[in-house]
Structures are given as structure tokens and as C-alpha cells.
Amino acid sequence: MNKFRWSTFSARRPYLFTLLLLVVCMAVNFVFQPGLFERNTLNSNMRVFLPSILLAAGQAVVVLAGGIDISVGAILSIVNTILVTKLGARASTGRTAELLAFVLVIGMLAGAINGFFIAYLRLQPIITTYATSFLFGGIALAILPYPGGAIPAALATFYRGTTPLGLPLAFLVIFLMLAAWALTQRTRYGRYLYAVGGQPDAAYATAVPVNGVQFSTYVVSGFMAALAGIAITMLTSSGSAGIGDALTLTSISAVVIGGTALRGGVGGVAGPILGAVILGFVRNIISFANVSLWWQTFVNAAIIVVALAAPGIIDLFRRVVYENIKDIPAARRRSAGGHSVPGQRPAA
């Protein structure tokens, strides 16, 4: 008999809390920006959020399998710089398509480099992706030393104007990602992710190809970072080698807010996607709430820190409360038949 138990229901759907947070956020945003749900505003907002959403999805996959990728911002920057320098304003559709495919491959290649060092040479993910973030950042800087560059106007209008079913393009992308993720969760690979993130030694002993799985997550992350780079290029129509720097932290925060713990093995992709949207709305709120321009960076950063700290605070709270209200331990109740004072036992 399957009784409905809230704890198991919510544990298997970690994005529930994130969903709640999203609703709250949108409500607050609405207060400051009454035109929030108008078609154009919504479309424009989602366009801005999309790169972060893509990054967050990729980061979620890596984190789920127990790793982390701090180089996503740099990969995004590389893609951006390549596009604006190689395309220019007058590129043909064919060339555009070629280049778009090319940068996706570049993204996967960058991810493969990360994956090689981490999964096969068994280096620590944090320091490795930190090193590659510098390496990739340098490459981006070499490609485009000064901000500038251009892309065909058609791309920008495509990004701005495409509204499938009258909804923002981002909605379609999110839908596709969620569909892809739902499918993945039902494959063996999906289970491998949770196993490798949850208990890598046990997964290895169970013949899960742990190294291969970890490697693949970095390739996925690189691919998503490249997609995000394409999106941001279409959004801004220009390039800058440092464009991705701030987005790395955003992607990690989105993952944490989305209920996918950094230790791995828990969560999914849906939560982080919502998390990225939430962070986008938060930034909106800050700018619309008449917070002075100078304070905006600080407030945004502070909110990110609070978001990152939230799981820890909740946990701390629970630990402290549990310690203090714990009642007589179960062992006492169990041994109803035994004595606590020793007596002599007769010899055999």
C-alpha cells in the first residue's frame, strides 16, 4: 500500500521549494514593475535570462555527478569572441550556420579538456576548472583583445523576434531542456549520474563506468556553455572577452537555489533552471526597486551569498533544534525487557 508521504514526495522533487521561491519572486517583481507580464516585457526579460538558464542546466549535470565547473563563464566568453570576430555584420546564412556548429564543437572540446583532467587524471574539479578558466579566458582575450565585433543583424532579430506560439523563445528552449532531461532520467545514463554523484566508490564496484560518466558531464557543460555563448551574442550583438566572468557564480548559485546540492547525487536540472530565472528576477527587482546604482552590485552579490548560505542555515537550524528537543532515545524504549543495572548470570 502506498500512502502519500510528504517527506518522500518532496525529497524526490527538490524543485518544489524553488518553485515557491519563483512565485514569490515574480510577485515581488510585479509590485515593482506592473508591466511584468506584458508580452514584450516578458519576452525581453526571458531573453536576458536565457544565457544564465542554459549555463545553470549544464552546471546542474556536472554537479549532479559530483563535480563542479568554474570554467563555464570562460567557455561562454570564447564562444562569444569567436562569433563576433569571425562572423561580422555581413555573414551569409550558410557561414553563420557553419560557425554556430563550430562553436558548439569548441564548447564540447573545452568540456572534454576539463573532463580529461578531472575524470581520467583524477584531479580535483575545483582547482582544475579554475586553472582552465584562466586558460580559456586567456584564449578569449587573445581572440578579442578589446570589446567590439559584430554579428549579422538577422541573428539578433531572430533572437529578439522569435516567439513560438506567441511566447518568448526562452520558454521553448526551457521546455526542450526539461523534456530532454525527463528523457535522460529514464535512461540508464540518468541513473548513472545519480549513482556517481551519490557514492562513486559503490558505483564503481557496481560496474558503472564512473570515469566515462564524469567525463561526459563536463562535455555537456561545455556544450551548454557554448549554447549560452551563442544566446548572449545574439542578445548583445557584440563581444567582450570578459562577458562570461560574472555568469559563472550565477550558474553555481542557480544550482544551489534549485535544490541540487553541491555534493552531488541529489536534485536535477529543473530546479537549477528555475533558480536561474529566480536570480534574473531578483536582478530585475533590484534595478526596479530604485536601489541606487552604486548599491546594486553589492545587493546582488549579497543576495547570492544568502542564497548559497540558505541550505546551510536551514541545516544549522535543524541541527540546533534537534539537539535541544530530542527526547529519550529509542534504545530505551526498545529494551523494555532488559535491565540497566547488571546482575549476575548463572554459569552454564
Binding site: I68, I70, F117, L121, R122, L123, Q124, I126, I127, T128, Y130, A131, T132, S133, F134, L135, F136, G137, G138, I139, A140, L141, A142, P145, P200, D201, Y204, V210, N211, A241, L249, I252, S253, V256, L262, W294, W295, Q296, T297, F298, V299, N300, A301, A302, I304, V305, L308, A309, G312, I313, D315, L316
Partner: protein
Amino acid sequence: MLAVILFLASGLLPNGYGSDTSVALAQATNIIRLSVFLGIIAAGQTLVIISGNEGIDLSVGAVVTLTAILSYVIANGNDSRVLPALAVAVLVGAAIGLLNGAGVIFLRISPLVMTLGMSGVITGLILVAQHGNVVGAVAPIMTRIIARPLVFGIPGAIIIWLIFGILMWLLLERTQFGKNLFAIGVNRVTARLSGIDVTRMSVATYALAGALAGLGGFLVVGNTGVVFINMGNSFLFPSIAAVAVGGTLLSGGKGSYWGSMAGALVLTLLTSLLTTMQMPDSVRRMILGGTLLVLISIYGRQRGFRQ
């Protein structure tokens, strides 16, 4: 170890600048002087990395910038205000470090995430403080001690660094704090069962690292005489690379400050070589990133699944 070899190599190179030994000596002195700041900033990083638990401090860049600006503003060209400026720099750094430590230990936030987030907050704070222009100046005594030759023609900075190095060695190898630090870096459970207060040690380590970064900020502004946004950023990555080059295990529990000093020298040498060759910033970054990658490939490999 490798660090020693690199150190020797870096020592040889300045002499390759021609047959005039006095020029070579001047070059070498200059490199060493430039290394001082990275070296002191890397000290805090060394401590945090030794303390284990994936310890790292990504907020040092922002702390350096913040404390440099604070020193600049407080000193304001006034010799008598130098000591208060130094005190504030160190204390502010320590406070930030304390927050880092609290987040890592009590809220169980990974050091990477905590310090990265913190650096964003500090940068935000800097913008808030800086939205007028920053008014201030470096006090002359700072420049005199730090930038100019003090004794035997050796710049004061180098002497400060030497004394600092000895103090760091004392701290790590001849104090209870140091021994406990290595212990918690190797195995927190054993450390606790040996009576070490892991919580207090960890938080103190981050606070100390913050304080040292604050000291670094003070010295940096004393050397350059000017402040600008993001001035601390160029020290962040090299501080980690210096520690790695120096042979300190990134997983914690083993290392030394001499190694980090050698690492700082190597990295500064590398950077100045690249500058001399007129390599753009992009190449510098690529080489730094690549070097760290190579280093950890040699030293940082962890246990594989199959034994």
C-alpha cells in the same frame, strides 16, 4: 623537490641578462621585490589550503583591493596615520576572513563557493565606497620603507618579506597552531580525537588568511602609490598557483611557506619575462592557467577507483 629546482632555475635566469653582474643583480633584486606582494598574499592562501577540507580563498583579490583603498584613504599622505591605516587594513581583512570561516564551518558551505560569493560582496562594497572618487594618498613613509632601498641597498619590501617568511616558518613548524593546522588538514576526525578544536582552528585560519591579505593590500598600495578598481585581482590566481608550485598539497595537510615563496618568485619571474617579450595579457593568462594545470597533473592526482 621540483620547487627547489625551479627556484634555482629562476635564480639562474637573471644572470643570463648579460655579463654585467651589477645589472643582473639589479634585475634579480627587482624581481624579488615584485614578488614580495604576491608572496605575502600567497601566505594566507597557503594556510587555508593546508587546513584541508578543499580549503581555498578566492576572496583575496577583493580583500586586497578593499584594504588598499582603505589604507590609501586613511593614510591620506600623513605619516602619523600610517599605523592606523595598517591596523584597519589587517582588521578588515580579518573580519572578512572570519565571515568566510563562519560560512565554511557553521553553514557547511564549500570554501570555493563561500569565498567566491564573498568576493562579489566585497567588490560591491568597494563600488559603494568608491562612488565618489577615492580621495587619499599614500604616506611618504610607506613608500620609503616599502619601495625604496633600506639597508645595503636592499629594498625594504624584501627585508619585510624575509622577516615575514621566518615568522611564517615559526608559525607553521614551531607553534601549536601550526602543528594543529597540519593535523586538521590531514584528518579532521583524528585531529578531533586528539583533542584539537577543529572548528576554532578552521575559522581562525580563514580569519588569519584574511588578515594577511589585508596586510598585502596595505603593502601593495605602499608600493604603487595609486589605487584602482580590481587592483587586487591580478594577485588572486597567482596566489593559488604559487602555493601549488611550492609543493603544498592542494588537498591539505602538507606544505610549507618557503615553497610558496619560491612559487611566488617563479610566477613573478614568468610574468616579467612575458612582459619583457611584450606578450599581451591574454598570453599571460593562458600560460598561467596552463602552468597550474601541468603542476596539478604532476602533484595533484588523487586516488583512482582501481588500486
